[in-house]
Amino acid sequence: MDDKLVIAGRQVTSRLFIGTGKFADYSLIPQVIKAAKAQVVTVALRRVDFDNPGENMLDYLPKDVIIMPNTSGARSAAEAVRIARIARETGCGDWVKIEVISDQKYLLPDNFETIIAIEILAKEGFVVLPYMSPDLMAAKRMVDAGAAAIMPLGAPIGTNRGIKTRELVQILISEIDLPVIVDAGIGRPSEAAEAMEMGAAAVLVNTAIATAENPVLMAKAFGQAVEAGRGAYLAGPGATRHFAEASSPLTGFLRREEKVGQ
């Protein structure tokens, strides 16, 4: 079956995107990417160490990945734009994940500032993937501003709580024509599968893998779950029913009466 994820004209081979924060050792990251069969990898520019050999996370990434720098630490559109431009100077390409967070307590994204940043960066030729709070009107404005995909949160970053925003994300999946990628909050492979079954184009996972006892094994499990969830979505699951098929507790009397009448 032809089931390709295409973002800004580029075909992406894996629907599991990986975040690189919180790992105890950078050497784990290439193993995680391999085990997850991931292709898109996001890296916080604030952590990219240009000056220390062995400390530059970019050196640990396999050559065939799509690096998506993120603007972690940006508190405003202006800071996000500045960080995106610095990221572009690394020569890793034009993809950028916009993350504008003006709330350090819950780390919830600032949709308003994010829209402003998308508008500026899209005009400069960036492929912009915004991290956002799942709000349909904000998502539509992001599309108009030139976003290449929409990345709503399932739950606040790092909480591992699952798809708490399910209803709102489902609306985005139904209404937004761009790929909808569930970013943040996914704590278990089953939740990644759930997002994929809902029709998400992809999921982005970091904390759940990085803080697992065995990050490489967890990465593999996430990769399998994303594939399974996508498969289930494509297969079109049967409608769920509350009662066994044979029983008709409310209308069964009709059949009985019909039998009597025969």
């Binding site: 970019l58 990221a87 034009d94 709330d103 803080t211």
Partner: protein
Amino acid sequence: MTFYDEIVRLGGMDLAGFLERVTPSHVTNVLAKSDLQSQDFLALLSPQAAPFLEDMAQAAHRLTLQHFGRTILLYTPLYLSNYCVNQCVYCGFNATNTIERRKLTLAEVELEAKAIAETGLQHLLILTGESRQHSPISYIRDCVSVLRRYFSSISIEIYPLSADEYADLIAAGVDGLTIYQEAYEEKVYSLLHPKGPKRDYRFRLEAPERGGQAGIRAINIGPLLGLHEWRSEVFKAGVHAAYLQNRFPDIEISVSFPRMRPQFGDYRPGFPVSDRDLVQSILALRLFLPRAGITISTRERKELRDNLVKLGVTKMSAGSSTAIGGHTDARDSIGQFEISDRRSVDEMRRGIAHLGYKPILKDWHDLGREGKKVCQTTPIS
């Protein structure tokens, strides 16, 4: 309203009475909660919470792992000047102490910067004594413009400034503000600071807010433990951090718990804080403020710092010297206080990695600096 009003309000409360009335079941209830209020935090600082230290540690470890991962940010202090007009009774730089007074020239600042940058550190904390004559804002600004070429994040730990002065230094490249209230109990504060501008308790207490108004990225506060009863001091510092988090939601707030160390002079702390007390403070703060940074300096010895890595700490100093020119000058000049963990940056990096954590050398990119072409992958698009 400022945090001073909050301190006045707390001053009217019977904290000691509350601490006495805490029961073990109260502590158990707090440990079962996911969102702690300030009175819950105080309960965790009570003597009755001490038997629950392991439970607190398990919860603090989980929360820290969730929010920060297995990472420890490393930084080092750079002392620019030890001229000081204050007479803090506990400080080696006390104006009445007859120690050699020095301030670094800009050329010396650059030598220190090179020596520190060679260790790989990217986060720097610059310090001065309080002397607007010897280390005015203009001097600090000049130092920052030199240091900015070597470091991706520069924080200041200097005398309290006005909001405009903070804005001036932020424009020069400063992104972090560290300022310790030393003693939150105002009467105790007055006794400890008999002379000099530091006598102004309120101007110091409100300094983090002025930094916040000026647009600083990160603020680090704390009490100096040993000067007064630790439970109330830690409580007020935690409430101060929560106040700053609420008032400035976009600023990264951290708390330090520096304990008094031997220094030049005769002062000995009247309220010693044991390792157990320090651990209880760190754990209670982590449970109260899951996202706050917690900083531990080289004041503490290696063995304790190693154990604290898993209990909620997120930042550590490394390769520290508290003497002027201490990163390049082998002379045995007198520092502000004695260092306890004397490991080099390299030893610290290996030590943290050995504990299963990643030592982070860079966690912010100075937005005034350009990027570098470093990407080895094939550019796409």
